[in-house]
């Protein structure tokens, strides 16, 4: 699976999110910056992304590391 494909799925599912996905076809790493994460726990943030990825996460994506930030958090770590 192409990392771009995962990136587009997340971008389509979360409007306004800044998404970057890298990977070797089996293991992927995604960095997602979205206002939608504001006020959500890590668990809720990851669940939101898993929901967007739906069956792809169950069937086609073997391993996906997630880093989730609000725009404010992202400003602070840049």
């Amino acid at each position: 699976m192409d990392p771009k494909e995962i990136q587009i799925m997340i971008e389509n599912g979360m409007s306004g999110a800044n998404v970057n996905v890298e990977g070797d076809g089996t293991h992927f790493e995604a960095v997602i910056v979205s206002q939608d994460f504001d006020g959500k726990t890590l668990l809720e943030r990851h669940q939101l992304i898993y929901k967007v990825l739906g069956d792809a996460m169950k069937e086609r994506i073997h391993a996906l590391s997630l880093k989730t930030y609000t725009p404010e958090q992202w400003e602070n770590i840049k």
């Binding site: 890590l42 668990l43 990851h46 669940q47 898993y50 990825l53 996460m57 169950k58 391993a63 996906l64 590391s65 997630l66 880093k67």
Partner: protein, 106 residues
Amino acid sequence: MSEDIKNKIGSQIEQNNVVLYMKGTKDMPQCGFSARVVQILNSHGVDYEAVDVLEDPDIRQGIKEFSNWPTIPQLYVGGQFVGGCDICVEMEESGELGPILQEAAK
């Protein structure tokens, strides 16, 4: 998921303060993500129950539905789902994981 599996997972989580659903065993993790969480839990010196999902396909599938979470490993502390590897690592780095492990061990 069958009622049997649901009950089995429910009682594993209820009867153990800390439960890690993982691939492989504590001594021989079969996946880097599972190994990472084992390493973190070991570093805290807490007792925990490790369930090897590779030993039981029903649990492997069942735990994903039970937690509504698509990946393994999965950590439960004090009956609550904490998260997968990324969340454990982030909570470890931020210092949040230690206190909840200590609290559950009481």
